[in-house]
């Protein structure tokens, strides 16, 4: 996994609550057997009108926000299906951090597995960033995992909490399976203690 330390760049304001993973990556793209290449399909049904042409009003299609590494969203982002394809699609599109007042549990866990940082800020803090990003398209924000702070050049500053273990894994780009396999003797002992059926 690629390490995450700090990311600066354009903030992409998706001003909606309860965005579910069916919207982030619609089901027709889950039939692929690869981990990569989902970025083109991110928010497919919102990016494209029913005739297949891009909807120029949707924030992902607007020229001023191209190349944004930071997504701003409303509460409960990533609810619904457990599909990790949602994290893959965001990552493949170039998003490195998502800032929202809350995240669905499975989505949040999937982000950490893919070097994508979910940042929880207070409602009012997200609202401030959202307003700035909407009013000044191209507004830049910095997310720093080492200091656990989100800042911008207009004086915005907020700290966030992240599970210390997850933070360490992201900063160092550690592989979860390798970490668990360091405990292989304990796993074996657990299985033996539970008997033959263990």
């Amino acid at each position: 996994m690629k390490p995450f330390r700090t990311v600066s760049g354009i903030a992409l304001p998706l001003d909606r609550v309860d965005v579910d993973t069916d919207q982030i990556i619609p089901k027709q793209f889950l039939k692929r057997i690869e981990r990569t290449g989902y970025g083109d399909f991110l928010f497919c049904d919102w990016r494209n009108r029913s005739d297949g042409t891009p909807d120029p009003t949707f924030v992902l299609n607007r020229a001023e926000y191209q190349g944004a590494p930071i997504l701003l969203a409303g509460r409960n982002f990533g609810c619904g299906s457990s599909r990790e394809h949602a994290a893959w699609a965001l990552s493949d599109f170039g998003i490195r951090a998502v800032v929202a007042p809350s995240f669905a549990d499975i989505f949040q866990s999937n982000c950490f597995q893919n070097g994508l940082l979910p940042v929880i800020l207070a409602d009012a803090e997200v609202r401030t960033l959202m307003s700035r990003a909407l009013q000044t398209p191209g507004h830049e924000v910095t997310v720093d995992l080492e200091s656990c702070r989100v800042t911008d050049k207009k004086g915005f500053e907020a700290s966030f909490e992240v599970d210390p273990f997850r933070r360490e894994c992201l900063l160092k780009g550690l592989d979860d399976i390798d970490l668990t396999l360091r405990n292989v003797d304990r796993i074996r002992a657990y299985e033996e203690a539970r008997g033959a059926a263990g």
Binding site: R16, V17, D18, N183
Partner: protein, 474 residues
Amino acid sequence: MTTPHTLFEKVWDSHVVHREHGQPDLLYVDLHLVHEVTSPQAFEGLRVAGRPVRRPDRTVATVDHNVPTWSRSLPVRDEIARTQIEALRRNVAEFKIPFYDMDSPHQGIVHVIGPEMGYTRPGMTIVCGDSHTSTHGAFGALAFGIGTSQVEHVLATQCLSTPKPKTLLIDVKGALPTGVTAKDLILGIIGIIGVDGAQGYVIEYAGEAIRSLSMEGRMTVCNMSIEAGARAGMIAPDETTFSYVKGRPQAPQGKAFDAAVGLWRGLASDPGARYDRTVTIHAGDLAPTVTWGTNPGMVVPVTGKVPDPDELKSPDDREASRRALEYMGLQPGTPIKEIRLDRVFIGSCTNSRLEDLREAAKAVEGKHVHPSVRAMVVPGSTQVKLEAEREGLDKVFLDAGFEWRESGCSMCLGMNPDILGAGERCASTSNRNFEGRQGRGGRTHLVSPSMAAAAAVAGHFVDIREWSYGGNGR
């Protein structure tokens, strides 16, 4: 005096392989369910790293998400879906994992066949790359959905390192009124606590209404825990649970079963056990329920009207409701019973078990599907289908004008050819009414099986409590 523990704490604590300060617990996984959609990248990861599957004997695979529900003798026409199914076949062969393929009499939706085969048992930890894994919590198991990276993790290590959730007790007081089902109960609960109301929590459902539910009803309730944002939903095992599990092919048999029941009896939460939060629901307040919007918390009793977004307090909720109404093509103030339907879907891991099909069949027996409605029944497993056919339920549905299909996830998520067209409005017994969930532009209303069946006949929503059962109607 020992400290009283909750059901969740007992299951969690007995599965901790390793605990270290500052790190999430390393939890042992008893059962890992695998399907074709969320597993190919995990198996590929194992191959790249040269890792074996640690416990193929604790892993079970089937195909459910993208299999067509027309005759099993026909080929899978969707080339990409076929590639995914074939990838699973290769992976289970290479890693020697038990597999129920499309032509197996035990194929079915992974959350239907687990309990049906007796793989799912009280006190277990169960994971699957699918959010509706919470279904298995109905047995007093700790069961939750995981992403594909974690699928790979469990395949490689049989463990998961995951933060410990908080506990939420949902105490359902009183009995469910006549005509109010497990589906209405869980939709009602989500309406009250919200689609993120249980984020970070494992729910334990308790109280008279829960105890009175069959295992099928309990599975419906636990299934939709995720729609309230919960990590899992659990119900303490009791006689209803034990008699359901008894005699199932993968369950312990004879003396081993009796010994297991002895242990399972100790799983219920101890008197005085503390929860991080408690919510009390009065079953008597609930009615047959219909969703009007684009998430499962947007619910209203069938006797109600489409709500007015302007009456909501928070600007975020007003905006979300406006978007939902626009997508759903509905006007505030429209009585729910006047909403006309194009499609009806009876199926999914929420409501596709034998009891669900019996309830639906009862409502349509001797009647006929409305001419403007296309209705289908998709049994949750091949066993459910065969058993329903032995009881003649297929004939009831076919005579009434329903399509009777092979088992799978089908139109719950429309990964196979069963999808809604743009603008089509569907009464569905599934679990998600998200935009585009059942097909781009499709409009989903979630209801119970009997409400869906009656709506198919009437062509619009009806209050099942006023339904005239028996023939001679349309």
